[in-house]
């Protein structure tokens, strides 16, 4: 057994281990937990890169916990999709942590810092767990760990965040229950919880109503957590009032992992044949996604609060990923688009939320209409915001363009022409609401009111720990925009397609 | 398992569950929730799930109820509508 095959369990186990060690060391020194978390997560990043390399060169990693064989024991399976997501999740967690260093001091009372970092680390552990596991029920446990910590982290902000947090608790619990409900039904039919095993056993009972119902339940349950359009009602408030670090992490990582569950369910537990022939859900999902894309964008146009606008924008962008997932039974490019957008949206939206936090921290501004002349006061943050916004709009040479390109081609390839129009229209709607902010930042002449000067004197300049992640993410938007255009990710994509057994490679 | 007892317990379960949601007094509601959990534990015992029953008795009927009570000591006792 290779050493690298230990790494998945090392990442998950050590994350949990670390979280509680941080809690203890918090009593010795309040600052220590942050550094411990940062160091260990950086270590995990290296490990995850090794895993990615191993997966791409050798093949999927299968790890049996406790030496129990898969149908009974819990299996960790890492194929290309997991490894890719794991790298994204860990790097976004690291950047979020660095950002939180400056931001948390501003938004959260000092005595809660240790708990805050512990919870963040626990949430990260939950997300890593979801990513590596190959067992339906184990996934539920990690899902709940990630969700429970998220509830708490949102409520940490206090004030307006509380009611949204409570709503999220209720909605999230219902979603998790639906998920586990579906899993139990599947179990009652097949008697196994392992992805691979279930994939083998399920085709015999695809006709079974229980299986189809279970599929629907799982999908709806996960969709609540991933705030697909009609189920998104808890989300805008949460993203608006949560601490900026958490908004950023939720938007960039948490929801991506939820989507990962969806993708797993579609292609690792169920198969393309099931989705296409037995329930015919593929097009329904596409239409839901299309409505989400348009509705999210239209709602975003109506918003005045920057973070709320970004939240609705996220609703719309989740539609992109769902559209990719929905199209992939018909065209492999759909999955490519979804996989690409998972990364592109993570870096883009992460950056935007971080910028929103930075702006409200330094200048105390939340309303877009007050942003006049911000480009001069906070040049770096505004430049990063602009780049990330362009990426969201889908201007070429930014990351967002490539995912749009893949998705448009997927819709053409699948002969679903309405979605081409939806995607193009959505790009224009994104333009409307993001351009408003860019206009305000750079081009609108602002009145140099006394109030503004006062604020400027009062506000300290941002610490490097906040600006650095923002700039890194903004530059990643451009770097990834070019990398996705090249054929560098092709092996990864081919691995993902073959591991999810799409039957085709590019 | 003994079916009459099983049925009886399930009936209780239904009644207690509805009652817990019905009453305006939150204290009563919480106590009824505890009762509900405890009856549920009995049902599970009937179903041969001793370990789950045990856990539910400890966690659902015990700890959760205690936590809710603790919470109730700080929020109003009566539901408004």
């Amino acid at each position: 057994m290779d050493l690298v095959e230990q790494f998945p369990v090392l990442i998950v186990g050590l994350s949990m281990f670390l979280a509680y060690t941080m809690l203890l060391t918090g009593y010795l020194n309040r600052r220590l937990p942050f550094f411990m978390s940062l160091a260990m997560n950086s270590f995990f990043l290296i490990l995850s890169l090794f895993i990615l390399n191993h997966v791409l060169t050798v093949g999927p990693i299968r790890y049996w916990q406790g030496g129990w064989r898969p149908p009974w024991g819990i299996e960790y399976v890492i194929d290309a999709m997991n490894a890719y997501l794991l790298v994204i999740v860990i790097s976004m967690v690291i950047l979020g942590l660095i950002y939180s260093r400056g931001n948390v001091r501003h938004e959260i009372e000092e005595r809660k810092h240790v708990t805050f970092y512990t919870l963040v680390q626990l949430m990260a552990a939950g997300l890593y767990g979801i990513t590596v596991t190959g067992d339906l029920f184990n996934m539920f446990i990690w899902l709940e760990i990630a969700s429970l910590t998220a509830y708490a982290l949102i409520a940490v902000a206090g004030g307006r965040a509380l009611r949204p947090a409570y709503n999220y608790v209720i909605m999230g619990s219902i979603g998790a229950c639906l998920y586990i409900f579906g899993v139990c039904w599947l179990y009652s039919v097949t008697g196994t919880l392992n992805f691979a095993d279930m994939r083998l056993l399920l085709p015999l009972v695809y006709d079974n109503k229980a299986v189809q119902m279970a599929f629907a339940m799982i999908v709806v349950g996960v969709m609540i957590k991933a705030y697909i359009f009609p189920l998104h009602l808890w989300q805008p408030d949460v993203y608006t009032y949560a601490p900026s670090t958490i908004s950023s992490m939720m938007a960039s990582v948490h929801v991506k992992v939820m989507f990962y569950i969806l993708i797993r369910m579609f292609y690792s537990v169920f198969t393309l044949e099931f989705i296409r022939h037995y329930i015919g859900l593929d097009l329904l999902i596409c239409w839901v996604a299309a409505i989400a894309i348009l509705a999210g964008s239209i709602w975003a146009i109506k918003q005045r609060n920057l973070k709320r606008m970004l939240a609705y924008s996220s609703v719309s962008q989740m539609g992109y990923i769902l559209l990719g997932v929905g199209l992939s039974p018909l065209s492999p490019w759909g999955l490519v688009g979804a996989a690409a957008h998972i990364l592109n949206h993570a870096i883009g939206k992460g950056c935007l939320f971080m910028c929103a936090g930075a702006i409200s921290q330094q200048e105390g501004l939340k309303d877009i209409r007050d942003f006049g002349g911000l480009g001069k006061k906070m040049p770096h943050v505004c430049a990063a915001f602009t780049i990330a916004a362009l990426s969201m709009i889908g201007i070429p040479l930014t990351a967002g363009f490539t995912s749009k390109l893949f998705l448009i081609y997927a819709s053409l390839d699948a002969a679903q022409y309405p979605f081409v129009a939806v995607l193009l229209l959505s790009g224009l709607l994104n333009l409307v609401y993001f351009w408003r902010v860019i206009d305000q930042m750079y081009f609108v002449k602002h009145k140099e009111t006394e109030n503004a000067i006062e604020v400027k004197e009062k506000g300290k300049s941002l610490p490097l720990s906040m600006v650095a992640p923002i700039l890194i993410l903004a530059s990643l938007c451009i770097i990834m925009g070019i990398v996705w255009l090249t054929d560098i990710p092709l092996p990864l994509i081919n691995h993902i397609l073959s591991n999810l057994r799409m039957g085709v490679t590019l | 398992m003994i079916v009459p007892i099983d049925l009886l317990l399930l009936l209780f379960l239904l009644i207690v569950g509805i009652a817990a949601l019905w009453v305006k007094d939150l204290l009563a509601a919480i106590v009824l929730t505890g009762a509900y959990s405890f009856i549920m534990a009995n049902v599970w015992l009937q179903l041969g799930a001793t370990d789950v029953a045990f856990t539910e008795a400890a966690v659902g009927a015990g700890a959760s109820t205690a936590l809710m009570m603790a919470c109730l000591s700080r929020v109003p006792r009566w539901e408004k509508k």
Binding site: V336, L390, I395, P396, L397, F401, K404, L405, F406, I408, Y409, L412, D413, V420, L424, L425, G427, L428, L431, W435, D439, Y442, F443, V444, K445, W484, L485, T486, D487, P489, L490, I493, L506 | -
Partner: protein
Amino acid sequence: MELMTPLFAILCPAIAAALILPSRNHPNIREAWTIAGSVAMFLLVLSMAPLIVKGETIEFTLFQSMFKNIYIGFKVDAFGEIFAITASSLWILVSIYSIGYMRTLKEHAQTRYYFAFCFAIMGAVGVALSANLVTMFIFFEIITVSTYPLVIHEQTPEALRAGHKYLAYLMPAGAFLLFGIMITYYLAGTTDFTPGGIKALATASPMIITVLFFAFLLGFMKAAWMPFHSWLPTAMIAPSPVSALLHAVAVVKAGVFGIVRIVGYVIGMDLMQELGLWLILAGIAGFTMIVASFFAISQDNLKRRLAYSTISQLSYIILGAALLNKESIQGAMLHIPFHGYMKITLFLCAGAILVATGKTKISEMAGIGRRMPVTMLAFSVAAIGMAGIPPVCGFISKLYLCMGAWAVGSPYGMIFLAVILISSLLDIVYFFPIILTAFFKKPADEIGAIGEIKIKEAPLLVVIPLTITAIFSLVFFIYPNMFYIFDLAKMAVSQLFGGV
């Protein structure tokens, strides 16, 4: 032939932009970077011309993309080289002009201006040199985004509204273009520019080709064909050098360039002929030529009149491409640089008048020709060229266009010949009043003002570039092969029509 030159040419403005940003507090250094970048780019672009005249094609693949048969790279053929030479040579002059213009008017946010300008030019030259539609689209969008800060340079609510209008037209255009590109790739499996059209498209159904054609036509809204033209006059709120280079050359010519590319290199002449699409395109072009000229007559604002003139002239190029024969296409290709030189002269003159007198309206310009003889002389030369009167280069391209229309032969050809001639006549109608006003009309307030208003020529840095462009417009008539342009056009046509 594999050569890195196109890449270096594209990188020149990008590097200049990167250097401009840190030296924002030192205006002289900043502008030195701009000029250095422009000269370097021009030399690099020009250095490719001799090779291309010999019939070579310079290719450089940057990288293969995830799509099969789509690579991001450059392929310099004769047609692209014409546009690249035009844009890059004019950039040098406009950079010099900008320095004089911006400093005299003490404009704000000059760093942003130069920065965005570099990217806009990069986009234009990138469009010229790109090897396939995807690469072209990337540079197209770079043009759109980078010209926005230039359009709203004034930052007044009015300018912002103009900028929004600009985006509201060009961004949907980008969406249509992307749609067209994806359809092309879906149908043909490639988007490379192939002289004579992509073969695989010939087998597609006529319906889809028609849809594709209209998608591209809408996508190249930058060509300002009617009725999707109104962003162009609105965008004239930008500073004069911007109007000059971008809205007479870079942006709009990129759109026209795209249409010619589509006609000649993607859909192909045969298919255009077969499906009758050429008639639609020629009809749109002819309509635009006439109507825009009428619009121009009624404008009092000089720059707006020039804008409508631009719209009209751009359609000459579209018409040339639509008529689908050697002469017309050669005329279209020649009209790109020639019109560029003439129109930029006009815009630079308008800017010079603004700098010297602060006047923008034609009715206020009475007698200005006597105070600013050099400027108005240059203006007259360019205006004569616009109307297609020798000895200015506009005559040559229009001659070829007329020959092309004649060569079509059918009644349609005669109609379009008439359209070209009428439009030229209208050119005279709206340009000569300006010249007459400037030289022969006495200013109304001359008596009271003669002592106080000392109207002189604009600063030297402003006057020199416009003089040079005017002289070049004349030189092109005598020696059309300057910068290899005539040879390149001939080569492009022979490539298109199968090496005759």
